[in-house]
């Protein structure tokens, strides 16, 4: 054999431009607001202006007489209409005794947060509905409200008047309490900290929206939704509305970002679908930007009490965490589970033998919390990476040194590490990423420049921070989810079809909202089947085309859904091989498959390309005995474990010590997400993730006033950073294949976010350390930095 094997065009590792982009860039794609239905009614929400209030009466007469208004419905009227059979779903009751007050789409007697829906207006005109909403007069009696998490913990007021506590659950993860106690008793060094994870607004560029189109005669309903989860939504609509599941078709058109914000079963969605079904007319809703800031769910919202014990050499021996988590006013789809997703990561990339964790969930009269990029894991990563820096500072060693002393397996390659949290890390190799990041950052050069500026007393001081994160991706092994009391599995579905003309259709159960699934899935086909990625079409996001799926979140698409596609492609190749062997009158064992072509071993001149076999499989004129026609295979892949990508990030900030102004001037990320399908997409994910984490560190926070009103609901006041605020980001990667799946892939959607907030705040604290500052609250605003410098210089640092 002397045949030269050419690399497959478009296969793994190809920096292919995204197939999605021409349509997106030319405006050809249809987003929810581009889709119209004849006779559609616009839905508008009357929302509570009080954080907590009794609803005495609602006068709808003014609104009802407005032009185009179809109807105005209060919570009481809607309840009488019997539109739903169950409250809005919480799929993750984390404990048996979790308190979960019934949450219906429209409040009836008591509004629980500013933005809670108290009435609904339907109108034939988009502008008319906004005018009519303003004419609905609600008479409220304000009730005592609890509008921040600490007040909820302290029980200053009750978020739900019929409950005697704000506490919804207590969830412990304490596999070895004696071990933790002994580690702290014998510790040479103990560091304690209280970190606040401020509330963040997901703020996808496309707000939420939906359109429900009923078919009164047939009883079917087509529900278009800007959602990350069409499949889950379909099941949940059926379960809450009583509309038969097989009469519901959910379509997610092009979706303009989600970041977890479109990973829910919202009141608004359920109202649209049930009202459309009831009235027999299409009902649509498009969220207004500042409406969404307080009405769709928010992320984070935690207070972390963290303690670390270490021996005299800085080897950390135990981590103790108590988390108070802000649920907001209600439990949404996975509200209580989000903080627990982080519980397993509080020992980070380190060989720390003891972890004692507990979490209390608390109700407040604020917007509900739920998934936001990273969901629990950025919070955990932040805590461990901040406490490692604090420990290094206490012991007097460099941040990189304490990390090196604590890495799992000394930073060398490992597989199947049993962490103190009870999870098994699939694989890791932390030292190369660490070394490369320090090299790219020129750590020695940075430190000497920092020393020079300090000695010279310059106005602009440097801060250097690092973060070595690990992340749990590939959600999730269904059994593991069952163990956590989550209400669904974690598998993913794929079908691969070789069409009669040789083209390929991939049906994917994972649903993109900007990630580039169509490109990546085409590259998997290229890699596995030797077929040009441009010959592949991906069908997704429509429950009629792709009936099975568990959608997109938790960095699961590639590590679960992509693996399913690869496995289905393998099955198609296996079947095609039998057809090729039949045509060659050879034994299947003698057939070789290289770059899409089958040939008989030893006679490479006689070959057939797999795409040529599509027609034979379709006509079925001459298939092997007993073989079914067509080349179509499906796989439902349930991963045996999570995947654990990791990386080392370095952030450099410049702090103006006179004004408190802070600028992120350099950022280095060396990430390891296992095997990369398309490095261009990986880099895009990491770039976006880093900016989103840096945004938490320096810019973003949902700020509520003392009455529970959100004070910064628009993009004018909620400071999503732009490219102007971000430095050039230098990226590199290492490759440590996952052992969890046959592709060796890990997932990268949330990685940047998980590493960057801690790296940036470590940099800020490093820059401020000469002023006695040891910690700072996120976002580290200029005012906060200035306050910290003032307090620190007078010896009053936290």
């Amino acid at each position: 054999m002397t045949a030269t094997i050419e690399p497959t065009k478009g296969g793994f590792g190809t920096r292919m431009l995204r197939k999605e982009d021409p349509k997106l860039l030319t405006g050809e794609n249809k987003f929810i607001d581009d889709i119209k239905a004849p006779g559609q009614l616009w839905m508008g929400m009357v929302r509570s202006q009080f954080a907590h209030a009794t609803i005495n009466s609602i006068d709808t007469s003014g609104a009802e007489s407005m032009p185009g208004v179809h109807s105005v419905l209060t919570g009481a009227q809607l309840a009488e209409m019997g539109l739903w059979q169950a409250p809005l779903p919480c799929a993750w009751p984390v404990t048996e005794d979790m308190v979960n007050p019934p949450h219906y789409p429209v409040a009836i007697s008591e509004a629980k947060h500013v933005g809670d829906i108290v009435a609904v207006v339907l109108c034939s005109d988009r502008y008319g509905v906004a005018d009519a909403v303003e004419q609905v007069v609600v008479d409220y009696t304000p009730l005592p409200a609890v509008v921040n998490l600490q007040d909820a913990v302290d029980g200053k007021a009750m978020a739900h008047s019929d409950l005697e506590t704000n506490k919804a659950f207590h969830w412990p993860l304490d596999p070895n309490p004696e071990g933790t106690a002994a580690a702290f008793a014998n510790a040479a060094h103990v560091v304690k900290a209280r970190f606040v994870q401020q509330r963040l607004i997901p703020m996808p560029m496309e707000p939420r929206g939906c359109l429900a189109v009923p078919s009164p005669a047939g009883g079917e309903i087509v529900f278009y939704s800007a959602t990350q989860i069409p499949h889950i939504l379909k099941i949940m609509i059926a379960a809450t509305s009583g509309i038969p599941e097989n009469k519901i078709r959910v379509i997610a058109p092009s979706v303009g970002g989600g970041f977890g914000g479109k990973l829910n079963v919202d009141a608004d969605a359920l109202l649209a679908v049930t009202l459309a079904n009831h009235i027999g007319l299409p009902v649509r809703w498009t969220e207004q930007r500042s409406e969404g800031a307080g009405a769709s769910h928010q992320g984070r919202g935690q207070i972390q009490h963290v303690e670390a014990a270490a021996d005299e050499n800085g080897k950390v021996t135990a981590i103790k965490v108590h988390l108070d988590a802000d649920m907001g006013a209600y439990m949404m789809l996975i509200t209580p589970g989000v903080p627990l997703l982080g519980s397993f990561l509080y020992t980070g990339v380190y060989d720390i033998p003891n972890l004692s964790f507990s979490c209390d969930g608390h109700f407040t009269n604020l917007t509900p919390t739920d998934a936001y990029r990273g969901a629990g894991r950025p919070e955990a990563s932040y805590a461990i990476e901040r406490i490692m820096d604090m420990m290094a500072h206490k012991i007097g060693i460099a941040p990189e040194e304490i990390r090196s002393r604590n890495y799992i397996n000394g930073g060398e390659h490992f597989e199947n590490f049993d962490a103190a949290s009870t999870l098994t890390f699939d694989s890791g190799h932390y030292k190369p990423a660490h070394d490369r990041a320090l090299e790219l950052a020129d750590m020695a050069g940075l430190r000497s420049e920092q020393a020079r500026r300090r000695d010279a007393g310059e106005t602009k001081q440097l801060g250097i921070g690092m973060c070595t994160y690990v992340e749990i991706c590939g959600l999730a092994p269904s059994r593991a989810l069952g163990g956590l009391n989550y209400g669904a599995g974690g598998w993913e579905h794929a079908t691969v079809r070789l069409l009669p003309t040789g083209k390929v259709e991939v049906v994917s159960g994972s649903t993109p909202h900007g990630q580039g699934h169509e490109t990546a899935w085409s590259q998997i086909i290229a890699e596995k089947m030797g077929i040009d990625p441009n010959d592949v079409e991906v069908l997704h996001s429509d429950t009629a085309l792709s009936p099975l799926g568990l959608d997109t979140y938790g960095s699961r698409s590639l590590a679960v859904g992509g693996v399913a596609i690869a496995m289905a492609a393998d099955k198609v190749v296996d079947k095609a091989k039998l057809i090729a062997a039949h045509q060659f009158e050879a034994s299947p064992e003698d057939i070789e498959f290289v770059n899409g072509s089958f040939s008989v071993a030893g006679t490479p001149t006689k070959s057939v390309h797999i795409q040529e076999l599509g027609f034979a499989a379709f006509t079925a004129h001459d298939l092997p005995d007993g073989m079914e026609p067509n080349l179509q295979e499906q796989v439902n892949f349930d991963p045996p474990n999570f995947a654990f990508p990791f990386g080392t990030h370095v952030a450099v900030v410049e702090i103006d010590i006179e004004t408190g102004g802070v600028e992120l001037i350099n950022y280095i990320g060396v990430d390891d997400c296992g095997i990369q399908v398309n490095p261009l997409i990986v880099e895009g994910q990491v770039h976006g993730g880093i900016v989103q984490g840096a945004a938490q560190a320096l810019f973003e926070e949902a700020v509520y006033d003392e009455n529970g009103n959100i004070t910064n609901p628009s993009l004018m006041d909620y400071l999503v950073p732009s490219t102007m605020e971000m430095p050039n980001i230098t990226l590199d990667s290492t490759v440590t294949p996952s052992t969890t799946n046959p592709l060796g892939v890990k997932g990268v959607g949330e990685a940047g976010t998980i590493g960057s907030a801690a790296a940036v705040i470590n940099a800020v604290c490093d820059g401020l350390s000469p002023y006695g500052v040891t910690d700072i609250k996120m976002p580290a605003t200029p005012q906060r930095i200035w306050n910290a410098i003032n307090a620190g210089s007078t010896g009053g640092a936290a």
């Binding site: 502008y127 005018d131 500042s290 004004t659 810019f699 200029p782 200035w786």
Partner: protein, 270 residues
């Protein structure tokens, strides 16, 4: 966001706009670049029932140097100030400040007359005009009058402009004396948390977002005129100011920023 219903008329020229203002009275609002007014309408903080579009009045868009003054038509866009040769040669501070307003789309829609008429104390250009000692030319049904910029602003989004008057021109002295603009904010596209404009080598010092109007830092100017040092004068930057409080800054921090930025601006301008 959805504004309340309104009617819209395109004014053919200034006289037409003033005539329409007279017809519609308090219900009307002039629409220039719209980058402040339209967002306020979308938030329903403003609900004029009649918009009079003056942005298309092309003869109000000009930049001319005459008699030691630079005359700028009210509908001149920020982007034009940013790139105009006359501005660069005769009053460079104006072009520089214009280049820091909002983002490129704001600068290609927003107008000098519009931003002054809007009288937002957080806007950049009004402070630059104040520091330069500029004059606002307003026209109403009874003709034209000139108002010193120092007399123009009266409160948050309020000025001496009568309901049936419109700004037609802004005049600033040609002045290339030492100038500087310090804009402190968290994102490049945002309003200044505090801004300080220094013109004419320190003879004109104006503050952004330090009160209910753009302010002349008269105490600083007086201290410098009296021979005080830059450092000492800058300490007086917030004298008499009542700085606003918001998510970005409390009053004492704004006061501190005004002092630091004034010192820096004066140092850079000298």
């Amino acid at each position: 966001m959805i504004p309340a219903a309104f009617d819209y008329t395109v004014a053919e020229n200034a006289e037409h706009a003033i005539q329409l203002l007279g017809e519609y009275g308090d219900e009307a609002k002039l629409l220039a670049g719209g980058h402040s007014l339209i967002p306020m309408m979308k938030f329903r903080l403003a609900a004029p029932t009649q918009l009079i579009d003056v942005a298309r009045i092309s003869d109000l868009s000009y930049i001319r140097q005459e008699n030691g003054q630079v005359a700028i038509g009210a509908m001149t866009k920020h982007a034009e100030l940013e790139t105009n040769d006359v501005i660069a040669a005769a009053c460079p501070i104006l072009g520089h400040v214009a280049s820091l307003v909002g983002d490129p789309s704001v600068r290609h829609r927003g107008t000098l007359g519009g931003t002054i008429a809007h009288s937002d104390p957080a806007s950049d250009l009004p402070a630059a005009v104040l520091a330069l000692g500029g004059t606002i030319v307003a026209r109403g049904p009874n003709g034209q009058r000139e108002i010193a910029a120092t007399d123009f602003f009266t409160g948050y989004f309020e000025s001496v402009l009568a309901p049936d008057e419109m700004i037609v021109e802004v005049k600033v002295p040609a002045n290339t004396g030492g100038w500087n603009y310090q804009k402190f904010n968290r994102r490049a596209q945002d309003w200044a948390i505090v801004g300080v404009a220094v013109a004419d080598g320190g003879k004109g010092v104006a503050l952004v977002n330090m009160g209910s109007t753009p302010l002349r830092a008269t105490a600083v100017e007086a201290a410098l005129a009296g021979g005080g040092s830059v450092a000492d004068a800058a300490e007086l930057a917030a004298e008499g100011a009542v700085p606003p409080v918001d998510n970005n800054a409390d009053a004492s921090y704004r006061t501190h920023l005004a002092q630091v930025l004034t010192r820096r601006a004066l140092e850079a301008a000298s």
